[in-house]
């Protein structure tokens, strides 16, 4: 019988399309298939035979960084959890996935849920976690059912629950359903939401590893982050750390959308060329139109112009070098006919709608920006509007409790900067129209 396939994936696929998280194996979402052809909880077995701190060390060495948007080193985050603790320790798996342009975690629930479950269990073991809550956005009801079925299968086989695989380690895993609020993907708002509060972000410090869920040590990780863990444990940190970019290792699930022939999720090593992602994998822009703009990592990341992307690699450091970030890996492509003013208005409307309202600069600022952008888009803008917009955005940035404020300011700042002449022409035209 054919067995344990992570080994053979490498032979099956070229290094460039290394499908570790989403291999093309039919019915992989069912446990028997996962046991035979997928990771098969071998990594969990291996981890349970290691010391918890060695598991953390291995993840550190792998270079794995969070896939939820902030790119924080995962092993380092885990090491912040107190080793001994009288209090219960928690893990929150963040499946809120609400950043516009992002649709990757959904694929994991659908096509490889056991990989994610196994990764969460290894994380739980490494940190001594008693309960894992998988926080799922309310709209992912279908995927919640798929994941629940996988969790049930894993419970039945003794991979979750009491005395896992005879190791003496026990841990539980539950799905918690959100109810429509982008802000609940922010880690501290997520914890408040779980506790039964409104989803308001918390002021930090204290940080979750000290004072998280119900005041207990808590770690929050993205779904895709956790799905990488079994691969690291199975193949070893040395092997894993050779994939992709030096300082941002592994593969990413790139979500490609907008004006491309073949939108979808593509798993590729970090450091892949953006132009390859768009042209080779995405089939290029329909009608062979030129690219006007690209959002590289979800709506919160700063926009790039089409003439800036030659040779640009898709990893944290390369994008940082050009003033933006990899975010969630959600790439939105806009062709030459795109109305840039309308796009940035729509993005800002989103942030205004999703602001929880706790901080004045965010609550008021996003509202002002939406209003100003709407009149610019509709051709009723005034010459002073552009400066005013920038002022408002700058006033939000860095002055708020959570990063939603920055996430709202960055797109506005970058769209204005990158397409300044277009915005200027737009408000000038409006002024002429107003007097004539």
């Amino acid at each position: 019988m054919r067995r344990a396939s992570i080994e053979s994936w490498e032979c099956l696929s070229k290094m460039e399309d290394l499908n570790l998280i989403l291999p093309n194996i039919p019915h992989l979402h069912r446990l028997p298939t996962y046991e035979e052809y997928g990771g098969g909880y071998q990594a969990l077995r291996k981890a349970l035979g290691m010391k918890p701190e060695d598991v953390v060390e291995e993840v550190k060495k792998s270079g794995l960084r969070g896939r939820g948007g902030a790119c924080f080193p995962t092993g380092l985050k885990w090491s912040f959890m107190p080793k001994q603790a009288e209090k219960t320790k928690y893990l929150c798996a963040n499946g809120d996935e609400s950043e516009p342009g992002t649709f990757k975690d959904r694929q994991i629930f659908e096509f490889n849920p056991h990989l994610f479950i196994e990764g969460s269990l290894i994380a739980a073991y490494a940190m001594g976690v008693k309960t894992t809550y998988v926080y799922l956005r309310g709209e992912y009801h279908r995927w919640s059912k798929l994941l629940q079925r996988a969790i049930d299968e894993a419970y039945e086989k003794g991979y979750i629950g009491e005395n896992i695989l005879g190791s003496g380690f026990s841990t539980e895993m539950y799905i918690h359903r959100g109810a429509g609020a982008y802000i609940c993907g922010e880690e501290s708002a997520l914890m408040n939401s779980l506790e039964g509060e409104r989803g308001y972000p918390r002021v930090r410090p204290p940080f979750p590893a000290q004072f998280g869920l119900w005041g207990c040590p808590t770690t929050i990780n993205n779904i895709e982050t956790l799905a990488n863990v079994p691969i690291i444990i199975n193949r070893g940190a040395d092997w894993y750390s050779k994939i992709g970019a030096l300082k941002h290792t592994g593969t990413l699930l790139f979500g490609l959308s907008g004006h491309v022939q073949k939108p979808g999720v593509y798993e590729l090593p970090t450091g892949v060329l953006l132009t390859d992602l768009i042209d080779e994998y995405g089939g290029g822009v329909p009608g062979e139109k030129k690219i006007k703009a690209i959002i590289p990592g979800g709506s919160s990341t700063k926009v790039l112009r089409g003439d800036e992307i030659d040779g640009l690699k898709m990893d944290a450091e390369s994008l940082k070098a050009v003033g933006t970030s990899i975010g969630t890996g959600g790439v939105v492509v806009m062709d030459e006919d795109t109305d840039i003013a309308k796009v940035i208005w729509r993005i800002t409307k989103f942030y205004h709608h999703e602001s929880c309202g706790q901080c004045t600069p965010c609550r008021e600022g996003t509202g002002w920006m939406e209003k100003i952008l709407e009149r610019i888009w509709r051709g009723e803008g005034r010459a002073e509007d552009l400066d005013l917009l920038l002022d408002v955005a700058n006033n939000i940035e860095g002055n708020t409790i959570c990063a939603l404020g920055d996430a709202a300011a960055w797109p506005v700042q970058s769209f204005l900067k990158k397409f300044h002449s277009e915005f200027e022409a737009r408000v000038k035209r409006s002024a002429i129209a107003a007097v004539s």
Binding site: T102, A179, G180, G196
Partner: protein
Amino acid sequence: MLSEVNLKKFEELKKRYPTLKALILPVLWMIQEQEGYISMESMRYVSELLKVPYGHVFGVVSFYTMFHQRPVGKHHIQLCTNISCSLLGAERLYNRLTGKLKVKAGGVTSDKKFSLEEVECLGSCGTAPMMMINGEFYENLDEARIDRILGMLK
């Protein structure tokens, strides 16, 4: 009130959390699934069930966009108009829907069959434009598909 089946579920769910308050989202979901929306009376019930003030329950219900405080149509249509969907013509679809249903976003048709809502990104940007009807995703839409889907819904 929670049905008997849901009360049993509630007792099971209690074991998962260290506090009663944490059950507020699960309980509100059960109520909305039972009744279609969350009335003031239901909120009072939840407040007693979970031993939290009424004002807290109201605060939570109004915080989350998926909870309805009044009945929606039999088919609740939620159209994504965020960036990727917008780039691929969500506005045209919006016009088609409002034209056919004769309601604007936020409205319910007079026969209570349909309600329409404009929503933020639902994580289907790769299959944009899209809408959700009673929790089901309808992806890769165009006007003709909208017509067909509306025609199928009784």
